[in-house]
């Protein structure tokens, strides 16, 4: 939405789709997928071999830059950059939504009249999709996490899996969306809701699996070994040791997958034909495809930001309790 004159790959795909240019669209998606996968695999293979100049020690310089004043200055700059580039712009949308309280937009939103009836439908749809996609990821992601973390099936197979699992976040999401839409839409006649669920699971899969792999890898294999010699079947060991010991990672992974799914726009644009999720609706509002006042846009986005924050907060607190 920030982009104007400069069109990157995903924006081009979106515009191409709106203009009805299906074949160039497929071609660009194809190029994007191949190129990003190629770069990623290349980095995976060659990055560990690259020698970064971090082994050199410069005692004088490092002593000076470790002084208290230098440290404070560094912290200040870090905080300033964080505030200016991350937090303030992210929450800036709150300001127009403050205006929405006085000009009647809030009342319209609560009553669900006019454009707001579609808005609430979209929000409900987004959360339903996110919930289904996260559930699907937990069921499908757990075995793969164990496979990767414990090198089941040998170093080669696990290594290949380890790399392939990253593809969904490496590839631009709209290109992935085009690909997923072609696969599920072209091969089967499943309802669009499930089409979106599948697309979102593909995209959020990596977040869940990565989180689980890191956690399972941190459990000493000795713990599982001992349990086996004490008579524990592999499933018993998984249920009573591996799962409880990685429950935080499971929740963290689920939260990431969930929030990522709620704000997923690119792939949804490429897959959806009739259904409109909340972020896609916001694109329409901002672009003016659907006429909406600036305070309505502010409030709509504000609610999305707020609900995301609240769900994140609730899950974080719930995790602490466990």
């Amino acid at each position: 939405m920030v982009a104007g004159a400069f069109e990157n790959g995903p924006v081009f795909i979106r515009n191409a789709r709106l203009a009805g240019l299906e074949s160039p669209l497929l071609f660009v998606s194809f190029v994007l997928i191949i190129a990003s996968s190629f770069f990623f695999v290349g980095i995976r293979i060659f990055a560990p071999k690259a020698r970064l100049p971090i082994s050199a020690v410069r005692p004088k310089l490092e002593k000076r830059s470790s002084s208290r004043a230098a440290g404070n200055l560094r912290n200040l700059i870090t905080f300033f950059i964080f505030a200016l580039f991350v937090i303030i712009p992210s929450l800036f949308v709150v300001f127009p939504s403050v205006g929405a309280i006085s000009d009647g937009t809030l009342q319209a939103a609560v009553a669900g009249t006019g454009i707001w009836s579609t808005y609430w439908q979209s929000v409900g749809l987004s959360y339903s999709i996110a919930l289904a996609a996260t559930a699907l990821n937990i069921v499908a992601g757990l075995p793969v996490s164990v496979l990767i973390a414990r090198r089941r099936g040998g170093i080669v197979v696990s290594g290949v899996f380890d790399t392939l699992v990253n593809i969904p976040i490496v590839v631009p999401s709209i290109a992935l969306g085009v690909s997923i839409g072609m696969f599920w839409g072209g091969l089967t006649q499943i309802p669009e809701f499930w089409l979106l669920v599948f697309a979102h699971s593909s995209i959020t899969y990596t977040y869940f699996v990565r989180s689980m792999v890191a956690s399972i890898e941190s459990i000493p294999t000795e713990v599982e070994d001992v349990a086996r010699t004490l008579g524990g079947k592999p499933l018993t060991v998984f249920r009573r040791l591996t799962m409880p010991l990685s429950k935080y990672a499971l929740l963290a992974g689920a939260i990431m997958a969930f929030t990522r799914s709620v704000d997923e726009t690119g792939a949804t644009l490429a897959v959806a034909k009739k259904l409109t999720t909340a972020p896609v609706l916001m694109v329409d509002w901002v672009r003016g495809t659907v006429p909406a006042s600036s305070s309505a846009i502010g409030l709509g986005l504000g609610i999305l930001v707020l609900t995301s924050f609240v769900s994140l907060l609730v899950l974080t607190v719930a995790t602490r309790r466990m």
Binding site: P220, E222, V223, V226, T229, L230, G232, K233, R240
Partner: protein, 371 residues
């Protein structure tokens, strides 16, 4: 009966031979220590018996039944790893009850067994604690209780006392043996501490570079080691390289330096053979005046240090090199040895104390290395 039999077992990891043609038979109820330097394959041997890794060749029998590729949970051999690997999210009681529960006991039975085991290791009062709240010694006892709770007749201990401070280690090792004997379990106890092995094992298997160097009663390994490595690794000794220069009915004379010979009993080595003469430091005595006994060499006392009931004396024997004598403290004080550093004294080792080995293929210093 929970006996263990390894038949020609080998295990390779890539190009590394961790275990090399090991054959071993351990009887029911026996307490066996596997002794070896770091990297000798001790843990791999234990994991092979536990079923946590499978041999590249050879076979394993437990209780007279072949189990070479049987899953660990179907072997009834409880493994207690070096760092204990207690389950951090479970209380001590839940940790100990894991085995019985996994083996299909009811929760009540399992907890009752857990409580019995905790009583046995005298930690009933910590049943509700979490492992990280306990000291290293307590954690070790919990790991032991957990291993015993499933009623496995076979206990596989990997350096069970390795992480415990020296004093407690000595106390705990006797308790460990007593507990095992009381419960009648067969134990394979891996350690790199030769004193620990000597003091509690029924038999010791000395492992070196993945192969069994000697398997026997502690007294045999100490008294009749089969290689210079064993003599050095178990008990420690002085070593002198030499050549057999004379053989009589029951005596062999070995020249260890120009003009110096050592007399040993026995005559197993051929005339002119390259050998290593070895004698225990604690069977090397120091005399303050010359006498006409055999194997008596003058030397200069270089240093002394106190080792409990012994005084450790380093003596420079000139062309022969330096040797170490551990002299009983009372005797050493009567001889006023600490005051005689720098003086000329006489060193003696009786012929019956001298063990003779064929010269190893590699250099003696390399042969004696034990990392």
């Amino acid at each position: 009966m929970p006996s263990i039999r390894l038949i020609d077992v080998s295990k390779t990891f890539g190009r590394i031979k961790a275990i090399h043609n090991v054959s071993l038979q351990i009887a029911d109820g026996e307490y066996v220590c596997v002794l070896g330097p770091t990297g000798s394959g001790k843990t791999t041997l234990l994991r092979l018996i536990a079923g946590l890794t499978y041999p590249t060749s050879g076979s394993i029998e437990l209780d007279g039944k072949p189990v070479t590729f049987v899953q660990p949970e179907d072997r009834n051999a409880a493994y207690v790893p070096q760092q204990y690997a207690l389950f951090p999210h479970m209380t001590v009681r839940e940790n100990v009850a894991f085995g019985p529960l996994a083996r299909g006991f009811t929760p009540e039975e399992s907890l009752r067994t857990a409580d019995e085991m905790l009583k046995l290791v005298r930690l009933s009062h910590r049943a509700a604690s979490f492992p990280h709240e306990l000291s290293g010694g307590m954690q070790q006892r919990i790991a032991l209780a957990r291993g015993l709770a499933g009623r496995s007749p076979l206990l596989l201990l990997d350096e069970p006392l390795g992480a415990i401070d020296a004093r407690l280690r000595v106390i705990l090792r006797y308790q460990l043996r007593r507990l095992a004997k009381d419960l009648g379990v067969t134990v394979v106890h891996v350690t790199h501490d030769q004193q620990e092995a000597m003091s509690i094992a029924d038999r010791i298997a000395v492992l070196r570079e993945g192969a069994i160097e000697q398997f026997g009663h502690p007294a045999d390994i100490y008294g009749a080691p089969t290689s210079p490595f064993l003599a050095n690794f178990v008990g420690g000794a002085n070593f002198l390289e030499g050549t057999v220069v004379r053989k009589e009915l029951d005596v062999t004379l070995i020249e260890v330096a120009e003009g110096f010979s050592v007399t040993s009993s026995g005559n197993a080595h051929p005339l002119g053979g390259a050998v290593v003469a070895s004698f225990r430091q604690e069977r090397t005595s120091i005399l303050t005046s010359a006498s006409l006994e055999e194997n008596l060499v003058p030397g200069k006392l270089v240093s002394t240090s106190l080792l409990g009931v012994f005084l450790r004396c380093v003596v420079d024997l000139g062309r022969i090199g330096e040797i170490v004598a551990k002299v009983p403290l009372r005797e050493a004080l009567q001889q006023r040895l600490p005051d005689r550093v720098g003086d000329v004294i006489f060193v003696r080792a009786g012929r019956e104390a001298v063990l003779v080995f064929s010269r190893p293929e590699r250099a003696l210093a390399v042969e004696l290395e034990a990392f």
